[in-house]
Amino acid sequence: MLLAAYVVYAASTLGFSWSRMAEGMGHGQAFIGRMFPPSYENSEAILRGLKESLEIAVLASFAGILIALPLGLLAARNLMPAAVSWTARAVIALARAFHPVILAIVFVKAIGFGAVAGVMALVVASIGFIGKLFAEAIEEISMKQVEAVRATGASFMNVIAFAVLPQVLPRFIGFATYQFDSNVRNSTMVGIMGAGGIGAPLFVAFQRFEYDAVCAIVLVIIGVVFACELVAGRVKKVFGA
């Protein structure tokens, strides 16, 4: 009841009205009209941007996951002393604190325009996401299996290899493919902040009101994201995640 009242209130303060909606629909129609047919005139810039975006996504996923794995392990409270897990959790929380857009802006300011800033932004985002989920996955494992392997006199690293990893591997593959997927999507976006990739030509096309070029880029992005999802799905199936 209270929620419904708030929705009505919020809509009124934000200027929602039937006339505004009708007007907007008209604009939208004109906008979509100008998008078709899509223009692939500048296909060279699109391809270059696309290639850069994919490179950003792959690099960021690889580096991010590589750093997130040990960090997630250190953050797991069931395997680590409190001081260690507390520190690792603080690092992860810091990495998670900002949206990738904000991270991209920060890195562009800090190290300059270009794909390196984009990679750094998505590495940090990946560390935050994978690190947190990986730590939680480890905290949910059966400690009985760990106890049994410990009782054989196995070293810490061997306990990880035989009692911890087998229990979390499928879930971890799931996180990693999901993060790659979302890095592909985010890599198309960081270009808008000047951090490299296909976002840059998209932003330029918008500013020049070249909506047919915008459409072409948007279609390419949809195609790529879809293709990556298929690949990710296949990877998950192979690893039984």
Binding site: S142, K144, Q145, E147, A148, V149, R150, A151, T152, G153, A154, S155, M157, N158, V159, A161, F162, A163, P166, Q167, L169, P170
Partner: protein, 253 residues
């Protein structure tokens, strides 16, 4: 009598200060034979077994094994000692997603370096031993099954084989039959008994089932309130002693 395989002196365990789960246990385990520890739930028998390889940290007392006091060991020495003590668990505690073979080989993890363990590079002798033990416990054709595909009895056989992979000088079994049906429980106890003889390892086993203990143990220790109430061959275990161990008598009839 020859040197005992294990000597426990004045062992005390308090999970909460002042509440003694083990109240000064002193005990020698001979280098041969099956010793059964019986007692009601909460009598401390599981804690006693787990203190020996320090899955539970003792509060006070000494545990002598191979001439060293386990309770005083640092991590490295403790790991080296754990390699020589095999353990079998009530709920098997196999790594579910690994194969039977990998579970057996995990018994050698104390001897294999981390890179080799990660790459599953075990010495030929370990693999041969694993196949021989699978044969011994009657699971020769299940080597490449995943552990979570096995029945309870099969899992416990894998658990025993994993412990024997360590070539232990002492075998601990924490209620190895409590999750099994009566017939399988007898088979598992029989296997433990045979393994003890065949590999010349003393076995220390916790159990609920008094009849099973009578049938397979060479020596029975009755625990109540964290203290030893009875310690004799099974022949000496009569109703009088059972009353002292478990309390009450109506359940006996």
């Amino acid at each position: 009598m020859s040197e005992p395989a294990l000597r426990i002196e004045g062992l005390v365990k308090e999970y909460r200060p002042g509440v003694r789960v083990l109240d000064g246990i002193t005990l020698d385990i001979a280098p041969r034979g099956v010793t059964a520890i019986i007692g009601a739930s909460g009598s401390g028998k599981s804690t006693l077994i787990r203190c020996i390889n320090r899955l539970v940290e003792p509060t006070a007392g000494a545990i002598w094994f191979d001439g060293q006091d386990v309770t005083q060991m640092r991590r490295g020495a403790l790991r080296a000692t754990r390699r020589r003590i095999g353990m079998v668990f009530q709920e098997y505690n196999l790594v579910e997603r690994l194969t039977v073979m990998e579970n057996l080989l995990s018994g050698r993890l104390g001897y294999v370096s981390a890179p080799k363990a990660w790459l599953r590079r075990f010495p030929r002798a370990d693999i041969d031993r694993a196949f021989a033990l699978l044969d011994e416990v009657g699971l020769a054709d299940l080597a490449h099954q995943r552990a979570d595909a096995l029945s309870g009895g099969q899992r416990q056989r894998v658990g025993i084989a994993r412990a024997l992979m360590q070539q232990p000088r002492l075998l601990l079994a924490d209620e190895p039959t409590s999750s099994l049906d009566p017939k399988t429980a007898v088979e598992i106890m029989d296997l433990l008994h045979q393994a003890a003889g065949h590999h010349h390892i003393p076995v220390l086993v916790n159990m609920h089932d008094v009849e099973l203990a009578r049938r397979f143990a060479d020596r029975i220790i009755g625990l109540a309130g964290g203290q030893i109430m009875f310690d004799d061959p099974p022949a000496g275990l009569a109703d009088v002693e059972l009353k002292r161990i478990y309390g009450g008598e109506s359940w006996l009839h």
